[in-house]
Symmetry: C2
Amino acid sequence: MGWGDLGAFGEPSKETPNLDQMAAEGMLFLDFYTANPLCSPSRAALLTGRLPVRNGFYTTNGHARNAYTPQDIVGGIPDSELLLPELLKKAGYTNKIIGKWHLGHRPQFHPLKHGFDEWFGSPNCHFGPYDNRERPNIPVYRDWEMVGRYYEDFKIDLKTGEANLTQLYLQEALDFISKQQASQKPFFLYWAIDATHAPVYASKQFLGTSQRGLYGDAVREIDDSVGKILKHLQQLGISENTFVFFTSDNGAALISAPRQGGSNGPFLCGKQTTFEGGMREPAIAWWPGHIPAGGVSHQLGNVMDLFSTSLSLAGLQPPSDRQIDGIDLLPVILQGKLIDRPIFYYRGNELMAVRAGLYKAHYWTWSNSWEEHSKGIDFCPGQSVAGVTTHTQEEHTHLPLLFHLGRDPGEKYPLSFASEEYQRALEHISGLVQQHKATLVPGQPQLNVCDQAVMNWSPPGCEKLGKCLKAPESAPQKCSWPH
Amino acid sequence: MGWGDLGAFGEPSKETPNLDQMAAEGMLFLDFYTANPLCSPSRAALLTGRLPVRNGFYTTNGHARNAYTPQDIVGGIPDSELLLPELLKKAGYTNKIIGKWHLGHRPQFHPLKHGFDEWFGSPNCHFGPYDNRERPNIPVYRDWEMVGRYYEDFKIDLKTGEANLTQLYLQEALDFISKQQASQKPFFLYWAIDATHAPVYASKQFLGTSQRGLYGDAVREIDDSVGKILKHLQQLGISENTFVFFTSDNGAALISAPRQGGSNGPFLCGKQTTFEGGMREPAIAWWPGHIPAGGVSHQLGNVMDLFSTSLSLAGLQPPSDRQIDGIDLLPVILQGKLIDRPIFYYRGNELMAVRAGLYKAHYWTWSNSWEEHSKGIDFCPGQSVAGVTTHTQEEHTHLPLLFHLGRDPGEKYPLSFASEEYQRALEHISGLVQQHKATLVPGQPQLNVCDQAVMNWSPPGCEKLGKCLKAPESAPQKCSWPH
């Protein structure tokens, strides 16, 4: 989902009354970012509070390449990483993930081995359908074991776009909240649905209800579901005791437009890029009785802050034995403070760009290669800024391109290199970059090796269902990351 | 000002608290249009309720050219046109225009000859400064006579961007409202400020206050002024008896970006074009006690509707001896109805595009010429849609380009000509176009002839000020309209 997909963020159809209401009752973040323009690294960063380059969710197979966890990935979240639910357990929290895990699907990466107590959802995206010979269909897990596979037991009709997955995930959320409330125990719910990801789907009751087509139907279903979750909290009388945050893991995938692509508002390009459209996200904090209604914040925020903020809410300290990139947003949310901090935009282990204040410096620019672009793969459809949306990797490390995101949110007008403003802004950002790089200890890259043998052939529980498949022989190879 | 310039419409700096509040208390129009992508024709359409091609505010000097009223224009609003204030007089209204008239500056076109009782403002844009030899500075009028000239008596500092014009116009508005309230007489105030038009200016108190630079400073000053006007109505106790509508006369002029250009949100291109960015406008209706708070409308609206709606509010009928293009929006505003009507997008006397429902058909596409574009004049900076943002005038009358503005608000993905959807939508729009053209009686074009002798050399009142200038000899010629 992109920054521009909600009514509160200017989507012209304005079809998200529940999320807009959530913003009206809470705080809208206009300058909130994901940690990566792709899903897996972004979700790993959220749960570890650390940049993908630290927690291992990146590749070194090529320069400045985006990578994620397809089902032939060998890597996943390292045991050495401390995840938010692991830490929350110390404060008595029960933790549940509903939806897409995406931090590795091999046994050692299972979410219940990394702090979650419950899981309903899948380890990978809902791509498919597959033939179960070349490639198995993606399993859906309940806790430790699979309970079926997408397209087989969990229907997704690619022709009509119908699938009731978001309804299943919603019901899971409501039931979990009810159960926790009944037991009077604190909980962490990571409602990590994968809706709006292509192939886009929506439940029957939402199909055809949006001005925006199928993608809009999916957005409306998410909006409706969030509304129901918030209402449920209120009806249970725990809304003033429950902190809720809504955001997305990357910008809208414009490559899927128009039928399956969302909106990044006035920003440049989309998912896969380190332009604003790829990484600036819709974000809303909600906590009635604590967050003043109708608040708007220009705090530079990041999904990694949800790690630190959640720990703070639970009265816990972040781990002191490692670098944590997230910051505690409570002073921002509760007292309206602004914390000075930069935003780092990575592709792989390359620092592509840095934002500090309203200035953004691009050290490298790249949309995608000419080769991929010539196949019709376009991350910036209809947009073209000379020297910026480049199809070769352009290095600007000696003379970064600088943009003022207030005057120029669309990253169209680089500041003049000769201007005093450029010199002043660059000097500041250069200091931040130097500091960042000086202390950076990259993690072991997890997204380098792929192997057809590790795919979801025989997930735990497959025997009971008669859904075990025979894995081919192991053939590890470098994953191919074209972007 | 563009669709995307207000917080309520998704501007990322969200610096328009008063206009956003106006929307929260009133009705937000998301599909509201101007009648032309340029100022004069748009304002003429607002005041006559008629398309520029009918009221004469167009040119035939070239095919599909935009035209306006620079100070060497010979034409202006014809006497045969009936303006809103002329009609409102019959219901006892006192009418005032504050700001830019732009419907012709020669004596016969004076706003007080066309229904207004009072005027404070200028006949043309605040371009300049001029040398008063080749070209006179633009006069500022109070009622019948000039009271000074821009840059001379009404300072505009192009270097700092400082000018207190919006404050003068605000005070005029507050005073007029107070006076009318004291006299217990109904009033029509046309607050036609020219702020945000380049050269962009703001008062000292607003300079440097916006994240967005000088343009944002101007937007903030407008926002603040609207807030003060609404508050004034409330304090006088007449807010429930006063209908207020906020909108703009064309999309943001992207050619002035980044320092002086605004935002058209997710839409394509800007001022001068018949893409959405050129003609879709921010629009808010406010009338406490009558309009339900927080309303949102997808009614296809047009500035011409303000003519018909205002007449309706005053209990008057629109003239029956001519075609009126505006519709009465009261059923929309007060009862939430949706009225089926098309939007026509013209350049000159060429029907470039038509919107009906969510479909938009382009019969001609053009941004500007290669020749102008090669000089750096770009109405679509950073945007380029193959076959759409064309630099030659491309005719599509036999096979129009069709867009679905719900799925594709940015006009990037023409529907497939072969699709059933295309056939169905085109059939509907073709019928509307046929009907429109069959009854269209173009007015006498007013924007064809320019003459240096008609410039603002010696406006009425110049003698008292010692500001009369000698006009050069008359040399009428065809105005040059490159776009």
